[in-house]
Each structure stands twice: as structure tokens, then as C-alpha cells.
């Protein structure tokens, strides 16, 4: 198999693009996909300061690497979730990458700073761990961006993540969630702009990017995530993709082009209802925000 751009021997095929790439052309392809997403969705202006959420996994480290290579001013933030050895190991990957690039990594340890670990929160709320984890991440990553004076918070959500979330939202017709599922969520009072520059890259590509760039990341799955519904949705979508290459990209990218503009008013109404949490001052549509309620339940 030969590279589509230069005819050198290929190292990866990307069936939805009907293309194979050699090492150099694959790296070029990845940078171009991120650049196109940033440009099209007005994610980051050239002089803005970016904070990227780092988990120690393939997506966040690939994103950090690409943004650094594209010459953005970008620091990382790692959230310690208190998931035993998994958290320690993933923090190690994040710190070693930051050292290797001479980049700045902030660490927010939830057990130390907020007195609970994600497994505690899952037990206290009697909900799946991913629910408490996602809620904590949204709150604390936004706070880290605001407190650090960053213009933009970037996360490593990739095409597969977004297609799986879209699939779940459509299955249940969560119109308010659909209206919120945007590559760029604009800044507002108390909110940093949130962007997802990897929406044009599948997770097979982000993993391949890390292999090619010799970026070590935590390969093992989070033990709390085993069997969760998004993993099941991804399996279903991959079965479709096997038979119809490009199905996931069409599903998600056409949602952005064709459907999301019709939901602008829903998103606008939701933003108009956002006030301030009476305890922590974070933006919230309730008197007490979901994170403060979580802390109260765990405590």
C-alpha cells in the first residue's frame, strides 16, 4: 500500500478518506484536520492563550502535541480523579509528556482539593462513575481556565466521541443536549470558551498519531468506564463503519452542517437561564450548581 500524497510506503490507511499515508504525510494530514476544525469553527485566534485538558490518554496528548506544533500558546491541566493506580499512572504520562516538550502542566487533585475521589462520588450519588466524573471535569476544568486567565479551554473529544454522544442523544431525542453539542461553545460570564479541535480525527488516528510521534500514553481503559453506554454506542457505530466507511463522519459532520443551525434558539434560551451558584459563584441554572450538590452529597 502506498501513500496517496507521495507514493512512499504507507503506514496507515484511513478508509473514510479512501487514503493511505506514509509517516510524514500522515502527520501533515493530522495537523491539517485540526487546523481546518479550528478555522471553520473559529476555535482559537492566533494570540489567544489555550488550556488543554490532559488525561494522559491518546487524544489529549495528541491534541497538546498538535497545538504546540501549530505554534499556539498552550498549557495543560491534569485532573487527579482518585481512581487508585489508574490515576497515578495517567498523571505520570501527562507529566512525562509535559517535561519532554518543556510545557507547563497544572495539576488539580480532586481528593486533595475537594475531599473526595470519583469512586466515592459514584457511590454517594448511586449513579455511574462517568456521570460524576464528567460533571466534576466540566466544573473544575472551566474553573482552571478562568482562574488561570486562559481564553480557551480545549478538550480532546474526537470524531468517534462526538458521533457516539450524538447517537445517544438522538436515540433519546435529548433536544437540549443536541443544541449544546457544538465544536465551539462561546465564552460567557464565568465560562471560558470550550473547543474540540479533534472533531475531524477519529480515535484510530489519534492513537496512530501518538505511536508515530513516540508519545507514550495510557493504553488501558479507565476501570470505571468498563461497559458504559458510550463504549457500546462506539461498538455499534464501528460495525456500521466497517460496512460503510465514512458513516460516522457523515453522521456527525452533517449534524453540524444541517441540524445544529435549527437548534440555535434552543441553545440561546438555555444560555439566558444561566445564573450564578450561590455557594461557589460558578455559572449555574440552579441556585446551587451540580458540582456543589455533588460535594455536599459525598461529604
Amino acid at each position: 500500500m502506498r501513500c496517496r500524497r507521495c507514493t512512499q510506503p504507507a503506514i496507515i490507511e484511513i478508509r473514510r478518506h479512501r487514503a493511505s499515508f506514509c509517516t510524514e504525510c500522515f502527520l501533515h494530514h493530522c495537523r491539517e484536520q485540526v487546523r481546518r476544525a479550528i478555522d471553520k469553527h473559529r476555535m482559537i485566534a492566533p494570540d489567544e492563550r489555550v488550556l488543554v485538558a490532559i488525561s494522559g490518554g491518546k487524544d489529549s496528548l495528541a491534541l497538546w502535541d498538535i497545538l504546540l506544533d501549530l505554534d499556539y500558546e498552550v498549557d495543560g491541566v491534569y485532573l487527579g480523579l482518585g481512581i487508585d493506580d489508574y490515576s497515578k499512572e495517567s498523571q505520570g504520562f501527562a507529566e512525562r509528556y509535559a517535561d519532554s516538550r518543556g510545557a507547563k502542566l497544572h495539576v488539580v487533585d480532586i481528593p486533595t482539593e475537594h475531599g473526595f475521589a470519583i469512586p466515592d462520588a459514584a457511590r454517594a450519588t448511586k449513579r455511574v462513575p462517568c456521570s460524576a466524573c464528567g460533571l466534576s471535569k466540566r466544573h473544575l476544568l472551566n474553573r482552571a481556565a478562568i482562574d488561570g486567565g486562559y481564553d480557551v479551554l480545549a478538550t480532546g473529544h474526537n470524531l468517534d466521541d462526538e458521533a457516539a454522544v450524538l447517537f445517544g442523544n438522538v436515540l433519546q431525542w435529548h433536544v437540549d443536549y443536541l443544541a449544546r453539542q457544538r465544536p465551539t461553545l462561546p465564552a460567557a460570564e464565568g465560562f471560558a470558551r470550550r473547543v474540540k479541535p479533534l472533531i475531524r480525527m477519529g480515535e484510530r488516528e489519534t492513537a496512530a498519531y501518538c505511536v508515530v510521534k513516540r508519545i507514550d500514553y495510557i493504553v488501558e481503559e479507565c476501570p470505571m468506564a468498563a461497559g458504559n453506554k458510550h463504549l457500546r454506542y462506539k461498538e455499534v457505530l464501528n460495525q456500521i463503519e466497517e460496512r460503510t466507511p465514512g458513516a460516522k463522519a457523515t453522521f456527525y459532520l452533517q449534524f453540524l452542517n444541517e441540524m445544529l443551525p435549527h437548534l440555535d434558539n434552543v441553545a440561546e434560551e438555555e444560555r439566558a437561564q444561566v445564573g450564578t451558584c450561590s455557594r461557589c459563584g460558578a455559572p449555574s441554572s440552579q441556585e446551587i450548581c451540580a458540582f456543589c450538590k455533588l460535594v455536599e452529597k459525598v461529604g
Partner: protein, 67 residues
């Protein structure tokens, strides 16, 4: 060839020669969900793997974040 798998971590011996795509099918995996690495290099689906090759099948699906 010796094939290293993840989740859970284990090694299996598979007789060669075998093309990458056939190895992935033989193991009951989706080619959308894994990378195949020989030594420390990625290989495409048409590459012929031989006895004596050291192969890692690396899963690429991760999940958990609810947002």
C-alpha cells in the same frame, strides 16, 4: 508470531504467514477499533506478517466522559 493484546493484557501465539486484516478478523476484532504495530511501527491491512514477528494489537476505543 507472538501477538500482544490489551484489555485484559495477554499474549497469544498465532501461526504465520498472515495478512494484517486476516489476523484482526482471526482474533474477532474490528479493524476500526485497533491498530496493528509490528516492532515499533504501524502496519497497514495488506502487510504480510511472518512467524517470528512481534505484534501488538492496540485498542483505540476509549470512553467514559459523559460530555
Amino acid at each position: 508470531m507472538l501477538v500482544h493484546l490489551h484489555n485484559p493484557k495477554r499474549d497469544v501465539e498465532v501461526p504465520g504467514p498472515l495478512r494484517v486484516n486476516d489476523l484482526v478478523s482471526h482474533l474477532g476484532l474490528s479493524r476500526e477499533a485497533v491498530l496493528v504495530i509490528r516492532g515499533d511501527s504501524l502496519v497497514t491491512g495488506d502487510v504480510r506478517l511472518e512467524d517470528g514477528d512481534d505484534i501488538e494489537i492496540r485498542p483505540v476505543i476509549s470512553g467514559g466522559a459523559s460530555d
